[in-house]
């Protein structure tokens, strides 16, 4: 007799506890024991996860290449202080997602669908699936760039990504999935190692906090740089992922404080590692080397040439890690969105047999993205560059609904946003919307040749 059958109510003939409940309650029992026994560090260890994964997952392959390119083209000035500010903005958004997930125990997709109708629900999910697919292609390309440094081909990149997805899904438990990906995500610190290895001048890092020198070029260039850097910091998949993962982890309103620590820690780590990539990339400043970027092993090879083989190797390994972690978190966010919108089981705590849509979406979107990079002559560069356009332009919609859900008093009760959070949240949305819309409009006007690039 299975546990579900054993605990069926004889009156309602309905299981009180599903297997998903049982798995989650085991995780929660450890949290209860840690809290009851006042074991603070253990409690923190048990409750961290979704925030760090969302933030370090967003330090993905294309983002780290974007940061390093900023450093290589413009040096440390301006972008070193901008990256921490952007991650502070990301914290504001992600904290709201965590709080809504912990209080309602529901994912972003299902709440938007149920509270604001099918049009917005399906639009959000469709937008997410499209941008996730394009972003996943860019992640496989980033792994390919890293592996190309070690003379390994795209087939290895696809195999590595898919094996990781299948391996992390094999446990049938959220806890195992989270800890495996968390362990892998900490290797994002390789970018900090790369920054240390290039022996940067400390004085120039400190002086860069004066936001000078401003990047040269036209207003369009600055706008595009800002928008692409924002696109590398806050994205729709993070919103879906952290809210759904917080609910899947079993977080409750009692855990909101630790959820904030988790999110803040993730933001700090992601900011530090992002600045690390920028500093490493700045080693290429004034060397006049053409950066091939996505086309081959350009960036690690250029770093190896200028700063030594160790830096190139560490950077290449970092790119492989960044791409791999992002594949895991982004495919998970797609799976959550698919399960929530279809209205079927969507949890790592459920077996593949009972959550076929969830697991199929998780593996399917990764498989599809992997297959694209194996197509000979596929326009990978165009796809990778447009991934940020799509994500940034459609981000305001996701942000508006996060703010609405976090302010939904019938839903959130006393955990609804305070006025100060709303002021900061609205400022973030307005800033991102202006940059995102300007970026989209600018790209469109360039593509129809109304303005020059």
């Amino acid at each position: 007799m299975s546990l579900s059958e054993a605990t069926a109510s004889p009156l309602l003939r309905q299981p009180l506890l599903s297997d998903e409940d049982t798995a989650r309650s085991r995780d929660r029992s450890r949290v209860h024991h840690a809290r009851y026994n006042n074991r603070r560090w253990r409690l923190l260890w048990l409750l961290v996860g979704p925030g760090i994964l969302a933030m370090l997952g967003e330090n993905d392959g294309p983002s780290m290449i974007a940061y390093a390119s900023d450093g290589a083209q413009y040096g440390l000035g301006f972008f070193v202080p901008v990256i921490p500010i952007l991650f502070a903005m990301a914290y504001v958004v992600q904290e709201m997602c965590m709080r809504v997930g912990a209080v309602t125990h529901r994912g972003y997709g299902e709440l938007v669908l149920q509270r604001h109708g099918r049009v917005w629900g399906w639009f959000g999910a469709g937008d997410l699936c499209l941008t996730n697919l394009v972003t996943l292609i860019a992640e496989f390309v980033a792994i390919r760039v890293g592996l190309a440094y070690f003379h390994l081909g795209p087939g290895v990149a696809v195999a590595l990504g898919l094996v990781l997805v299948l391996f992390t899904l094999s446990g049938g438990r959220y806890w195992r999935w989270e800890r495996t990906v968390l362990g892998l995500a900490l290797f994002n610190g390789l970018f900090l190692v790369a920054a240390i290895l290039v022996k940067p001048h400390v004085g120039s890092i400190v002086s860069s906090f004066s936001f000078t020198p401003l990047p040269g070029g036209s207003l369009n260039t600055l706008l595009l740089l800002m928008a692409s850097t924002i696109g590398a910091t806050v994205t729709p998949w993070m919103i879906f992922f952290q809210q759904s993962a917080s609910a899947d982890k079993g977080m409750t309103p009692k855990d909101v404080r630790h959820g904030r620590y988790d999110t803040a820690l993730g933001a700090v780590l992601a900011g530090v590692f992002g600045v690390g990539a920028l500093i490493a990339g700045a080693a290429l400043l004034n060397h006049g080397l053409g950066i091939q970027g996505f086309a081959g092993a350009g960036f690690p090879a250029a770093l190896s040439h200028v700063a030594g083989g160790a830096v190139g190797t560490v950077f290449a390994l970092g790119l492989i890690e960044a791409g791999a972690v992002a594949i895991l978190t982004i495919s998970a966010s797609t799976a959550y969105a698919a399960g929530e919108c279809v209205g079927v089981s969507h949890s790592f705590n459920t077996s593949p047999r009972n959550a076929a849509v969830f697991y199929a979406a998780n593996v399917g979107v990764s498989l599809l993205a992997g297959l694209v990079i194996l197509i000979p002559g596929a326009p990978l560069l165009s796809i990778a560059l447009n991934a940020n356009v799509l994500a940034t332009v459609l981000l305001p919609v996701s942000l508006v609904f996060v703010l609405m859900l976090a302010n939904d008093r019938p839903l959130m009760g006393r955990w609804a946003n305070r006025r100060s959070t709303n002021v900061v949240g609205i400022a973030v949305i307005v800033f991102v919307s202006i940059c995102g819309a300007a970026y989209g409009i600018d790209s469109f006007l360039q593509s129809v040749h109304i303005i020059g690039s």
Binding site: P15, D21, S29, W120, G250, V389, A437, G440, S443
Partner: protein
Amino acid sequence: MSAEPYEHDRATQLQDVPIPYDPDADEELIMHLERDQLVAETFRPVPRAELGRRAAIGLWALRIFVVLVSAMVIYTFMAGLH
């Protein structure tokens, strides 16, 4: 040592093998979840939000924004592919 009972308890709870049916154990497990955390509860849909006039206008503005910008993005994306 105070940690021992806890460690023993934890080791028992961490086992992934199927748990033999024990009504008391089920009772203890369910106590670690809030009622609205149960899968059966989370599958119960929440009612549609009642929006004020300003919020409704804001969402219509958002719809228009989405349609316009999406058209631009799709065009840019297709142009980029070519």
